[in-house]
Symmetry: C2
Subunit: 119 residues, 2 copies
Amino acid sequence: MIIRQGFAELRGCGAAISDEAALRDAAVAAARSAGATVIGDHAQRYAEHGLTLVIFLAQSHVMLSTWPEYDLILADVLLCDDTMSVDGAIDALAARLCPDGTVVRSSVERRIGPAETRA
Amino acid sequence: MIIRQGFAELRGCGAAISDEAALRDAAVAAARSAGATVIGDHAQRYAEHGLTLVIFLAQSHVMLSTWPEYDLILADVLLCDDTMSVDGAIDALAARLCPDGTVVRSSVERRIGPAETRA
């Protein structure tokens, strides 16, 4: 199974960048909008400002990392189910966190399965 | 600052794939070998088998996700310091976890900094 891991740079998100509850709610909502099942989360806060938040899914993860000093949220979404839309999940994140901001996307392919199924 | 986030598929790692302490030790050693500072970690265990382990760094993260049923460990390394070597960190992971296995690498560029520095 070849899966695209999706990434986004979100800028211009306003106060959400420093609102841990809003970040968590957006990540959970994005995962659920793709059909994924949330099984845990963990936030690592940085000493000055910023945090990394991981939402663990039955299908892998949504990670948000914030750099308030750069007005930047990085998103990282891996959904290990090829019927789920990573682009849709990033759309949902952006709609909640940055409705008036900008989103720049990228992705990488990851291969998940036994060795003999690799393309 | 443009940073390459590095990924690897590791196969043929033997017993390490199911040894959480060995996975954590390898991820911490890999981060430190690159010069990064470990500030926390979190493991999410899956119901049947497999886990996702995140080592949080002052410079971002090392993540390992295991699929024992596929003999597969996925590594994900982001080092937000362009003097640190993501390839060296993956080399260190592979040397500890899969000295007799195979490693397939990929990467994606991420841009970290204020909007005006984007290339």
